[in-house]
Structures are given as structure tokens and as C-alpha cells.
Symmetry: C2
Subunit: 373 residues, 2 copies
């Protein structure tokens, strides 16, 4: 049993396949073979993962690919964002060369967004582009990173500066693998889920509100998790298929990210996970929207309650200086002509974009949402 979400693009359309999370479903990653066969790919596969994730799920993926007649080699990259470098990419190239990967061969990413972004970029640039498949294993990768074709690595001086657009042939999601994801990572992924509820899908928001808990894989009803993942993937698929190369609509995915990125950057990308920054950013952006009379206070409070329920922070840590945040906003690469663009909810499920926010208003709200401890 699975749900199929087609991602329609002018070229390179593909499907997201979400395996059923029902308790009695057969081990779902093994459905890979059924899903991959119709794609008519060559026989050679290079599977890219990290040691921890491979330890949990590698063997079952490899066995299933081999049973389906593929010749599989595995290349592991050490865990962590610090390995998301061009250097790791050259090592994937070397593995591709040693195993004689051809234009019809496939790279498969088994991991979180770090592994997915790197494998996608290697596939984008090996022999000027070979097929690749995403098997995201973190919640953030399932609902966000694996969908939309953005691939890349970090430059020593900036995140994701090097990259390419390259669409996967298939995104295969088995939500049950989230059982081994560290709880803090699970919550961080939930921030993006809440974001989709606010910017795009009111029904998703309502499902999240109806849930008893959202802060832990083992406490969430598995059917609800299935719904959450499916609706989130659908939201991302809707947006990216309307704006493949990020020329317009895709900007709404940055809701909560403007201030969130500034906080991540000011804390050196070490203390705060991306999703945690997004959570704080959504609280702040929501508050600004209320003060501008663009959003109702009641809706903002509902959003903040969801963030809390997901075990995510609703306050900016005391150590992060408001003036520094405002400064950082000005140098963000998305700034056009010195104006910071904000994405604001209008009602739950609908947003608008504006650059009409004064520094004074940002300052006022930051003071309110920064922890006073």
C-alpha cells in the first residue's frame, strides 16, 4: 500500500511514493524494487549514504535492489553538514568512475538532506547528468529537501552556494524509518510541516491541531503521520511544480526563514537546528503580520500553539541580539535593493509577500519574542 504524488514539471516529471505506515505493512523500503522497475534504468546503481543510516537501513535497500537484478555499489560519507563539500563530491565521482557508471546508471541517496543534496549534485554533474533517486530518511528530507530538484554543497564561506537543479526520477518515502531519527531532528522537521499548514494547506493545519502530540515519533498516531507526510509532500510538490527554478511562487516556502536564517547564522549553525530557527522565525513573522493588521491575532496564537506542541522553541534565545538580527537581514542574499522581503500569512493556508516592514517594527517584535531569562 502506498500513496503516489506526481510532481508535474515541463520536463523531468516524477513521482513521490509514500509507503503505508500502517503497523502491518510489510517492510516498506523493499517496495523500492516495484517502484524502480517501471523507470527503465540501467543495471548499475551507486547507493550513497552515511554509516549510521546505512547500518539501520542499508542492507534491506541493497538486498532489495540486488533481488531486482541491479548491480549495487555503496559509497558512505561521514555524518554531518561539515562533510557537505565539493571534496565529498569528488569522492562520489571516484566511486562512479571505479564502478563504470554510465549515462543510464543511477545514484540513490539514502539519508537526510545532507546526503540527498550531495548525491543529487553528483548525479547532476556526472557525465552531465545521470538519473538519481531520493530515499529520504529524516522528516525534513521527506517533506522538503528531497522534493524540488535543488541539489548542492556548501562553499567554505557560505551554505549551498554550489549546486544545480536536477530532478530525481523517484522519491521513495517510508515514514517508519523515522523511528530511529533523533527526536530533536524529528521536531525540526515538524517545523516545515507546520509551515506548509500555515502557508498552503489549511486542512493539514487542522489535522495538526487535532493531534494529541506532535513532538515524538513514537507518540504520534501512525495514520496521522502518514497524513502529515503526504499532505506536506503534496504542498511542496504543488509549489515547486508551479515554479521549478525559483523565479516567483517558490519564495513562499521561505515563510519563517528570513529571521530563522539570521538566527541560525548568528549562532554559528551549531546551537540551533534549521527547523528550530524556522520555528522562531514563524513566531516572529506571525507577530509582525498581526501588528500590520494582515493576520488575526487568534490565528497567530493557533500557529504558536502548534509549534509548542511539536516541542519546538517559540522564543529566540536570550543571547541572540536583536540589532544583530536586523543587521544580518540586510545582508541576506534575498534582499533586493536593501529591502527585506517577508512572507506573511493572511489567513491559515494563504500568504502574501511584502517588503514594507520597517526596522522599528522588526525591533519591537524581536523584543517581544526574545527570551527574557
Amino acid at each position: 500500500m502506498y500513496t503516489r504524488i506526481p510532481v508535474k514539471l515541463p520536463q523531468d516529471s516524477y513521482d513521490i511514493v509514500i509507503c503505508s505506515a500502517a503497523p502491518h505493512a510489510r517492510a516498506s523500503l523493499s517496495q523500492l524494487a516495484d517502484q524502480i522497475s517501471p523507470l527503465n534504468l540501467g543495471k548499475k546503481v551507486l547507493l550513497v549514504s552515511n554509516p549510521q543510516i546505512y547500518e539501520y537501513y542499508g542492507e534491506s535497500v541493497v538486498n532489495c535492489l540486488m533481488a531486482a537484478g541491479f548491480v549495487v555499489t555503496t559509497h558512505l560519507i561521514p555524518e554531518g553538514e561539515i562533510h557537505k563539500t565539493l571534496d565529498s563530491i569528488t569522492q562520489i565521482y571516484d566511486a562512479a568512475l571505479e564502478n563504470y557508471l554510465e549515462r543510464s546508471s543511477t545514484m540513490i541517496a539514502l539519508g537526510g538532506g545532507v546526503i540527498g543534496d550531495m548525491t543529487g549534485f553528483a548525479a547532476a554533474t556526472w557525465l552531465r547528468g545521470i538519473p538519481f533517486i531520493q530515499i529520504p530518511t529524516s522528516l525534513l528530507a521527506m517533506v522538503d529537501a528531497a522534493i524540488g530538484g535543488k541539489t548542492g554543497v556548501n562553499h567554505p564561506k557560505g551554505k549551498n552556494l554550489i549546486g544545480a537543479f536536477h530532478q530525481p526520477r523517484l522519491v521513495l518515502i517510508d515514514p517508519t524509518v523515522l523511528k530511529t531519527l533523533p527526536v530533536r531532528e524529528f521536531r525540526a522537521g515538524m517545523a516545515e510541516v507546520i509551515k506548509y499548514g500555515v502557508i498552503w494547506d489549511q486542512a493539514l493545519f487542522n489535522h495538526l491541531e487535532a493531534a494529541e502530540r506532535l513532538d515524538n515519533f513514537s507518540e504520534i498516531n501512525q495514520e496521522l503521520l502518514q497524513t502529515i507526510v503526504t499532505r506536506s509532500c503534496q504542498a511542496k510538490a504543488d509549489v515547486v511544480s508551479k515554479d521549478e527554478k525559483e523565479s516567483g511562487l517558490r519564495a513562499i516556502l521561505n515563510y519563517g526563514h528570513t529571521i530563522g536564517h539570521a538566527i541560525e547564522s548568528l549562532t554559528g549553525y551549531s546551537q540551533i537546528l534549521h527547523g528550530e530557527g524556522v520555528a522562531m522565525g514563524m513566531v516572529a513573522a506571525g507577530r509582525i503580520a498581526v501588528k500590520l493588521n494582515m493576520w488575526s491575532e487568534q490565528a497567530a496564537l493557533r500557529q504558536d500553539a502548534l509549534i509548542k506542541k511539536a516541542g519546538l522553541p517559540t522564543e529566540i534565545p536570550a543571547g541572540v541580539d536583536a540589532e544583530a538580527i536586523i543587521q544580518t537581514l540586510q545582508t541576506d542574499k534575498k534582499v533586493k535593493a536593501g529591502k527585506v522581503r517577508f512572507i506573511f500569512p493572511q489567513e491559515i493556508g494563504t500568504v502574501t509577500i511584502t517588503d514594507q516592514v520597517t526596522s522599528d517594527l522588526i525591533r519591537e517584535v524581536l523584543a517581544e519574542v526574545t527570551c527574557q531569562a
Copy 2:
């Protein structure tokens, strides 16, 4: 005065602009400003070249860009194919970062195919793709490398293994810069011109036949050179716009390249220029086609005469072993299921593709076209 050739693609269409080579035309690279303005690019430009070429033409390009209001930085890469590496690309990235290149900024390649392929790849992968412009300065780059969107670098173990498709926004050609191109490079480029005559454009072939000399820039009538470059660009544009991602028709551009590549590879890519290998390959392929009764002997002789007139070799050097060539053909990446695919002329201007060539026939022809000295 200039000729404009539109390259029509499903997305990312662009123009090839060929400046008039007439003796009294104003210095043509300075037309860059007129051509670049309508593209609505950002103000920042990174010009990539090599020291020799920059010495000749860099200043006039930079001045003209600055006069048009662009902020220009220059990044030079040492001359030669050995520098066509990922390492050189990371140096372009560093220059892009230091100069705060944005999504709307432009990289401009001023040079032969080596500079063009690298600049294109850097532009393809910086910020997931920024605009780039080709100003090809070698004949081979003008009629071949700069057109079609193939970009990339070499892997230590193989040519052009790393790359991406990324279309330029503009290809600006000033044939008069060929005056400083070493004569052997000029002739090598002429091999691709002759190829277009044989596979695609009978009128081009006739122009080449009518020319008194083809072996030296200074001996060629400038109007003829203009015609040759224009028709060759048109041929490449026709083929690539019918097959952007190399799934079919584009294969015909490999006429003469099957055996040519084998010879280049066996001589370590040092003794023989690519165009020289292609010249030998066309002689051999033409001969095989004649023996298969696919092409008339008379047409093959006309082709060989053109190759000679361009100062290109019509014989394979004595040191290159026929058995080694046959062996190399088998391991070529374009081989499908062990069958070598050959492109053969049927008449001048028309080709066909076949994998029905026996090793014995190849052996027989190689014996005939290898220098007996």
C-alpha cells in the same frame, strides 16, 4: 554589421552573433555592449580567460563592458587542457564569492573551448546556475564548443566526465581574433567545419571546395571566413536545437570522432590535436562507408581533398597500431552492448548511423589509411 543565428530550445533560447569580418568594420568585440544590453543582466560580470588571450583581447572587452556600465572583475586560468579541472572551478567559485556575484550576475568566457567549458560549468553550478556568455576565440570554440550548452571539466581518469548542460545567454563571435590563433589550432578547427559540410550542409561543402586555400587565417578571403563560420554555427545550432540533451540526432556530430578519439587516446592526447584526430577519423569513416556501398568513392575523395587543403593529416601516424585502435573502440563509452556505432555520410550533407561494421572491415581500412613510412 553582424549575423544573428537564433538557437531555439524549449527553454533558454539564445542567439549566436557573428561580427562582420569585413576589413573596415569597427573593432567588433566592442559590439559586445550593444548585444549584451537587451539581455537585462545584473551589473556584475566575472570575465574568465587565460593570460595569453587576455593579453590580446582582454582590455578591449573589459573597457567595453565598463563603458556599458558593468562592474567587471577578471579571473585568469593558466593556458592548457591540463588546467581543465575541478580545481580551476573552485578558483572561479572563490572569485565569484570575493566579488559577491549574485543570481543575476554574469560569467563571461573569453577563450577557446577549455575556457568556455570551464566558465560554463562554473556558471552552471554557482548559486545553482547564473547567466553566462561565450566569446569564443579559437575556430573550434566558435563553430563547436561554444554552442550547445555542454559544459564541464576533466576527471584525472577521463575527459569531460564532470559537467552539466547550461545554455549561454549569448555567443559573441568576432572571426578577426583568429589572426592570433596558432596556425595548427586554426587547421584543427577547420576539421569540424569540413565535418559540418559532410554531415549537414552541402552548400558549405561547396564553398570550401571553391576556396583557394583553407590552411591559414591570413590566406583566407575574409568574406569566405565569415561564411564558413556562419554556416558552421548554423549547422551546430540546427542539430542541438533538435536534440538539446543528446538523446538522438546530436550523435551525428560525432562523424569522424569514433576513430578520431581512439587515435587521440592512444597517442596520450599530446601529439595529436582533437581536430587532427577528427580529420583522420573522417578519412577512415568515409573509406569504410565507400566499402559498404553507402557512399560514393568520388564524394569520399572530395572530402579527403578538402582535409588536405586545410593542411590537416589524411593518414594515421605509423606508430598507431590498428589492433589497438579496434580495441579502444570497444571500450569507448558510446559503445552499446559491444557494438561500435559509426556515423556515415550517404551523400554530401546527409548521414546515417549504423552499428553494422565488422572489425575485419575496420582493420582493412585502417591498413589503407595508416602511414606506411
